[in-house]
């Protein structure tokens, strides 16, 4: 099909590219030779489009726009822009006398469109906006042609943004690995060892495959040295990704642990003081989460400009809401069940049913999704696509903050002293004048309030719904059991440890099996140390 003229066009186009490259730094206006290829056959057009991408500049961009919009044509072999008011020369911009109808429009097919997109991306690499550069780099990563290598090199040298650099490096490596020059391929294979991108690893893995069957099979990569370099680089990438993933799992374990801690801290206080497992403790989380939801709603309608700060305002709201519900529970129900722990279990379960149904009636059964404030969205990206979201980092810090507050309260205040006294020996505390009833109420209020804070934290990473708290009571109780009753330090270790163990097991065996294994582990643990990690020993231990 290729006639001699077409071949000539091709050669001309390639020549044009080379000339354009030579002339690059000094260029201002478009070289007519560069664009001439657009009037030729498809191959010539693609080459010309690539050349435009390499050349860069506003004129090139305008020309690509015209081409894509079907406003480019030829009149007697001369490239023209078809404007509503007549024809203009594509390079010089001078108006032509000829009638618009005289021009033959250049048709654009999908292949050309793709080429145009790539060229545009090449142009956009010099954009001032990092986001645009990133988008451009992403386009090039899949579609770049070898002709664009110099552009990539230039962009890489000038690029400051890490994300864009990573993509550019990938695009370059992909082109280089496909290069016919073994030396270039070797260089690329070695350089890729510095990457931590799973996609790069796949690229290298492709080199180590064989084409064809049996004895006739040939390596995709013919050069053994390049293959060895590729294999070494793959190992390096694997190591780096593995490390990042471990760090990521550790982090999500800590994150789960921090939520468990917020749920368990309150339970540890109430269980320690009153010897009562509050089965409605999970519902106090739910109360805190709905309080957060209401605060968000209030900000949205009254203070939209401060919406980002609603989380801060929700801290006291969630605490108070849960604390009030807690006080009501203690005064109305638990107080009357003192010394009957199993019945308290049932009564508080009843309370939880009532609270869940009340939430369902008040807020509807559907799950609500709360928007993170902008300063909590996004995250730190580790290698291999592992992201540590900011909201979880903030929650981790928040849990630490609450922990410190509770610790200060328990150790430094009079109430804390009373609470510890009642936890250890209620009758004796009563005898020496500790107002046990008031301590009960206050401790319950604080424990419930902390659960409310847990709900606030939970609302930032999970959906808010009437039954959101039910899953947490058992886990929180396990933390209390593991940590030892009334032991703050034990609760911390148990929560974080349980979170991390659960996440690692999840990665290894799946969520369900992990859950079962954790349960088995806890039962086994209780066999060995029935009083928890930090046991109270001695005569009081089994009372």
């Amino acid at each position: 099909m290729f006639g001699p003229t077409k071949r000539q066009w091709c050669i001309a186009a390639v020549l044009c590219v080379l000339m354009a490259l030579a002339a690059l730094p000094a260029r201002a206006a478009l070289d007519p030779a560069l664009v001439q290829g657009l009037g030729g056959d498809f191959n010539a057009r693609v080459a010309a489009i690539d050349a435009l991408g390499v050349a860069g500049g506003d004129e090139a961009a305008a020309l690509l726009d015209a081409l894509e919009g079907g406003r480019l044509g030829t009149v007697d072999g001369r490239l023209v822009v078809i404007a509503p008011d007549g024809l203009r020369d594509a390079t010089s911009g001078e108006a032509l006398a000829a009638d618009a109808g005289a021009a033959t429009r250049i048709t654009v097919n999908n292949r050309l469109r793709r080429a145009i997109g790539t060229a545009r991306a090449a142009l956009a690499l010099s954009s001032a906006q990092p986001a645009q550069r990133l988008a451009a780099a992403d386009t090039l990563r899949e579609n770049a042609s070898p002709a664009l290598l110099p552009v990539l090199a230039r962009a890489l040298a000038a690029e400051q943004d890490d994300a864009v650099r990573a993509v550019l490096r990938y695009a370059t490596a992909k082109l280089e690995l496909a290069s016919p020059d073994p030396a270039l391929r070797l260089k690329a294979a070695q350089a890729l060892g510095g990457s931590s991108d799973a996609a790069v690893k796949n690229l290298l893995a492709a080199l180590l495959e064989k084409r064809g069957d049996g004895a006739a099979a040939t390596w995709v990569e013919a050069d053994a040295e390049v293959r060895a370099a590729a294999a070494a680089s793959m190992r390096a990438i694997d190591r780096r990704i593995g490390l990042a993933q471990t760090a990521g799992t550790l982090f999500s374990g800590l994150s789960l642990g921090s939520i468990l801690l917020l749920a368990a801290l309150g339970l540890a206080i109430t269980y320690g003081v009153m010897g009562v497992i509050n089965m409605a403790h999970g519902e106090l989380l739910m109360v805190g989460a709905y309080a957060t939801f209401l605060v968000q709603g209030a900000f949205r309608s009254h203070l939209p400009e401060y919406l980002d700060l609603y989380v801060l305002a929700a801290i006291p709201a969630a605490f108070l809401a849960a604390a009030l519900v807690g006080i009501a529970m203690e005064r109305l129900v638990l107080r009357h069940l003192y010394g009957r722990p199993l019945e308290s279990l049932l009564a508080t379960w009843g309370l939880s049913l009532v609270l869940i149904q009340a939430a369902r009636v008040l807020f509807g059964p559907q799950n609500l999704e709360l928007a993170n404030p902008s300063w909590m969205s996004g995250g730190v990206e580790l290698a291999g696509g592992v992201v540590l979201p900011y909201n979880r980092i903030v929650i981790l810090g928040f849990a630490a903050f609450v922990l410190v507050l509770i610790w200060l309260m328990m150790q430094k205040t009079r109430l804390g002293m009373f609470v510890r006294a009642v936890t250890q020996n209620r009758p004796m505390a009563g005898c020496v004048g500790v107002p046990t009833a008031r301590v009960d109420t206050l401790a319950f209020a604080i424990g419930s309030g902390v659960a409310g804070l847990g709900g606030l934290a939970l609302s930032q990473i999970a959906n808010v719904g009437p039954a959101m708290g039910t899953g947490y009571i058992v886990d929180a109780f396990m933390v209390v059991v593991l940590g030892g009753v009334g032991q703050l330090a034990g609760a911390v270790w148990a929560a974080l440890g349980l979170g991390i163990v659960a996440k690692f097991l999840e990665g290894w065996a799946g969520a369900v099996v992990a859950k079962i294994l954790v349960l088995v582990f806890i039962i086994a643990f209780i066999q060995k140390r029935p009083q928890g990690i930090f046991a109270l020993k001695g005569r009081f231990a089994d009372s």
Binding site: I277, V333, H336, L337, G339, R340, P341, L342, E343, S344, L345, L346, A347, W349, G350, L351, S352, L353, V354, I356, Q357, A358, R360, V361, T470, V474, F477, M478, V481, A511, V512, K515, I516, L519, I522, I523, A524, I526, Q527, P530
Partner: protein
């Protein structure tokens, strides 16, 4: 002279109890079948299919309540995981029912539908023998029994007690629920087993089968009550209650509480398994939600409502709560959780001994009042005669009557 076992079995229940059981048996084995099968639908005494199935279901719940009462009311061990044993029994029998479907499933395959759907080619190994009714019946008892035995062995051995034990049983059933939700576990995932067709080749939806299952449930309940009554009146039952009240003392007089608790715990689980097996064909479905912690804790509230530590209380409680539930879920479904929730609270706060306790208290009060009248009369007579203080004896009797009324056996269940 050693009393023969059958005689002691007979003696374990007062005559009133046997009469009540006989009446119940007559109604369940003769009355209901006749009313359902023989009477035309227009007849005012006709019992509808829906009612038979509902009552059959409640009978199964009553068995579970008795099993729960044996371990909670008498041994003081509150299980929040009995739903697991019930469901295991149900699943064990469900496997047989699934195999009985044969090629009548929607895929027309030899394998149960859900396996075809998962593209499985053969039955997993643990389905071996599931086409045999005998094997299924064995599993119905053995599977919950084994799970309970292994779990109980570890839990009781490490002296896990009170709320610790309760919460761990809850975690156990929760974990099992998650496991059964998975398709790969091989029990139908979310949907569980359903669309049963027949038992031993007989149509499962036929009136005859319905009545048979109902009568079997009634028989199971009667057997449970007789067995339970024997257990709690035997020395074994006294040891069990002693463990509940003062475990260390029991150990120091030479009983090993581990074995006693484990026996009762395992037996209780097996009874639940049997109830589950009868429940599934009557309800027509078994899925993992039966293992949800909420279901298990509801069992505890049946017993609490009726009055724990009394077998009749467990039966009454299961009946009352479940009938109320049936009514509410039909007419006011959104209020049922409120009712149930408040039931938990009210019963634990105001009716620690349940309906039976309330009834006993009222009866004792009436008896005391009668004694008061009598002693007042006697006292008046005496004072009139000798001018002294009112007589002493009736007063102490009255006290005794009151104190026995105030300390039913269940009081110490939390100790």
């Amino acid at each position: 002279m050693r009393t023969p076992f059958t005689l002691r079995l007979f003696q374990s229940m007062p005559r009133g109890g046997w009469i009540a059981l006989a009446i119940f048996a007559a109604v369940a084995w003769i009355g209901v079948p006749v009313a359902h099968l023989a009477l035309p639908e227009s007849h005012p005494l006709h019992v509808f299919a829906y009612t038979v199935s509902l009552l059959g279901k409640i009978l199964c719940y009553m068995v579970v309540a008795v099993a729960m009462d044996l371990i909670w009311g008498y041994a003081g061990i509150l299980s929040l995981g009995h739903g697991l044993f019930f469901a295991l029994g149900g699943y064990a029998f469900g496997m047989y029912l699934m195999r009985q479907i044969g090629r009548d499933g929607s895929y027309g395959a030899e394998l149960p539908d859900f396996m075809v759907f998962l593209d499985w080619k053969e039955l997993p190994w643990y389905w071996a023998g599931s086409d045999s009714l005998l094997w299924a019946l064995f599993l119905v008892v053995a599977l919950p029994g084994l799970v309970a035995f292994v779990f109980g062995w570890f839990a009781f051995r490490s002296r896990i007690k009170g709320v610790y034990f309760s919460i761990i049983t809850q975690a156990l059933t929760y974990a099992a629920m998650l496991l059964f939700f998975r398709n790969e576990t091989g029990f139908g995932g979310n949907n569980g087993f359903t669309d049963f067709k027949r038992i031993l080749g007989y149509d499962i939806t036929s009136p005859g089968m319905r009545v048979t299952l109902f009568a079997l449930s009634a028989a199971l309940l009667i057997a449970c009550l007789v067995l339970g009554r024997y257990l709690v009146t035997s020395r074994f039952g006294r040891v069990l209650a002693a463990i509940r009240d003062a475990e260390s003392r029991v150990m120091f007089i030479g009983y090993n509480p581990l074995h006693y608790k484990l026996f009762m715990w395992t037996l209780s689980a097996m009874l639940c398994g049997l109830a589950g097996a009868l429940y599934v064909p009557q309800v027509g479905i078994i899925n993992p939600s039966e293992m949800s912690p909420a279901n298990s804790i509801e069992i505890a509230v049946w017993v609490a409502v009726g009055g724990r530590g009394t077998l009749v209380g467990a039966v009454l409680g299961a009946g009352i709560v479940n009938l109320a539930k049936s009514v509410f879920t039909v007419y006011l479904p959104e209020y049922w959780p409120f009712v149930l929730g408040f039931l938990f609270i009210v019963v634990t706060l105001y009716l620690p001994d349940g309906v039976v306790g309330l009834w006993r208290k009222l009866r004792a009060r009436r008896a005391a009042a009668a004694l008061d009248d009598a002693s007042a009369a006697a006292g008046a007579g005496l004072s009139a005669a000798i001018g002294g203080a009112p007589a002493e004896v009736p007063a102490t009797e009255r006290q005794a009557a009151r104190s026995t009324a105030d300390t039913p056996i269940a009081k110490g269940a939390n100790a």
